[in-house]
Amino acid sequence: MKAVQQLTKLMVVVLLVAYATPASAILTIEITQGVDGGLPIAIVPFGGAGKERPPQDVAAVIEADLARSGRFTALDKKVFVARPTDDKQVIFKDWRIVKAEALVIGNVQPVAQGRWQVEFRLYDIYKEKQLAGYSYVVAGDRLRAVAHQISDIIYEKLTGEPGVFSTRIAYVTRERDAKRFLYKLQIADSDGYNPVTVLNSVEPLLSPAWSPDGMRLAYVSFEQRRPILYMQNVVHGSRSRIAEFNGINSAPAWSPDGTKLALTLSRDGNPEIYVMQMSDNSLTRLTNNPAIDTEPSWSPDSKEIVFTSDRGGKPQIYRMRADGSNVERVTFEGDYNARASYSPDGKMLTLVSGAQGRYHAALLHLQSAVLQVLTDTTLDESPSFAPNGRMILYATERGGRGVLASVSSDGRVRQLLKLQEGDVREPAWSPFIHTTPTN
């Protein structure tokens, strides 16, 4: 037996030697569960210098932007154990304690002639690394714009996708004076601030639609007492009539390359969908059905158009090729589906879906045909995707008047935008607008 013991001892040595090659042995552990939520981010109130206070709280604008997107959870400042405003004061451990994954710090200081210098830095707390850091010098009235640009940088650094905070929204307001209604076509920042009136009218305005370059709006005006389509440059305000046929001229939708406009005309007796070539105003009729066909919207690849039709008895969404062929119905749930438009990736539609008198902003996943209701309000209208596809802007009612709201495209985060004067309707989210950055 002794020999055997010796042999086994020897073998133990052999075994240990054979085992001592760590690279050969890697355990794999599967991680499948987690907490669903926004990335926890700490945004420290920005520092300043001198007595003068900036006209805008830049950090607060950034925080509201990021929270509204649904992809971030801004941590409560009450739990912060430090309030750094410059790089040297940042201690990563302080932020691990509060479970922040990212940190934003900055400061806003007055420079000459009413101008301000804004600096910010973004950190990854666990990699202990600065991800971005920029400085801007701007006039006081540009501080919100800078805050949105910073939000865009943070969003892109942390999600890998472009942010939409510097984009714009268009919408129509209605106010009442002593005798009559006043309608305004307005453009504002993506959070509803800084509204600029593009057009005043005492007759209704409807359906603003952004050109793909973000420079023009097509819309319907009743100023001639009947619906006529106009196009207006949003920078210098010049405008022109683009469709004033007999009957209805409505529901403009730009083709993705901006060379064509799909629209609804009743010049041949019944509302049908046409495509107008912008270069020569020539028309091609796409639908031919005794029912109402309206609200066209192009797919991002320009190959298809969706529209609303009541040809089945109730308004539902249909899809056809861009030449009008191969019409098929795509919504089957609920007794009302309308105002559809494509997500930027072409995989989803946002639309208004109604049943039993309740109308919700909703998503239709085209491949699975699953309809996902996004809101718990009941009078939603005019939903449109943000140009990155991650949020949806829509109008709803609050206290008997129209207000604007946004919802993350997973339905998780909903928020009313800053309340505008009057009744607000018909919002449309702009495309990405490529302007030279403020610096």
Partner: protein, 164 residues
């Protein structure tokens, strides 16, 4: 949860154990061992066989192997739970997304390094996985020092389940 391990040296071990078994059998040892029995547990345990020659009967070894294996599974499960508690799955994840991270641990369980070994294609998803591991630091390790080495380098596969 699933823990898998890949042993390049499995063949060597099998061969050595095979010889051991044959040697024991040839010497008329009362415990008969079939090489096939060792096959399943052999990968995980070898360190445990270093306890001493006194317990080197094949049966003792098998038990030790099994104990080590179950300890490894237990720790793997604790690691999984701790990382899952710290994983904030980013908005917009979809079923089928998957990323693999390679983790290096200090002997105390502190996370030293988290590298993306295979990207999901989504920077936000990859980042969330990396951050989850850092947040979960220190990771649980076995009490038995000889088992710790197995955990110094790990692969974590992030593959969300449930409702997106």
């Amino acid at each position: 949860m699933k823990i898998s391990s890949k042993f390049m040296d499995k063949k060597i071990l099998l061969t050595v154990l095979g010889i051991a078994a044959l040697a024991l059998a040839a010497c008329g040892g009362s415990e008969s061992v079939k090489p096939g029995i060792e096959d399943k547990s052999v990968g995980i345990d070898a360190a445990g066989t270093g306890t001493g020659a006194s317990d080197m009967s094949a049966k003792g070894k098998t038990e030790q192997t099994a104990r080590a294996k179950s300890e490894q599974a237990r720790i793997g499960s604790l690691i999984r739970q701790k990382v899952e508690r710290n994983w904030v799955r980013p908005a917009g994840w979809t079923r089928g997304m998957e990323c693999m991270v390679r983790v290096r641990l200090a002997p105390t369980g502190e996370v030293m390094q988290v590298e993306i070994a295979r990207s999901s294609g989504s920077p936000a998803f990859d980042r969330s996985a990396q951050t989850a591991v850092y947040k979960a630091s220190p990771l649980p390790l076995p009490k038995d020092k000889r088992l710790i080495e197995d955990f110094r380098e790990l692969e974590l596969r992030f593959r969300p389940e449930g409702q997106a």
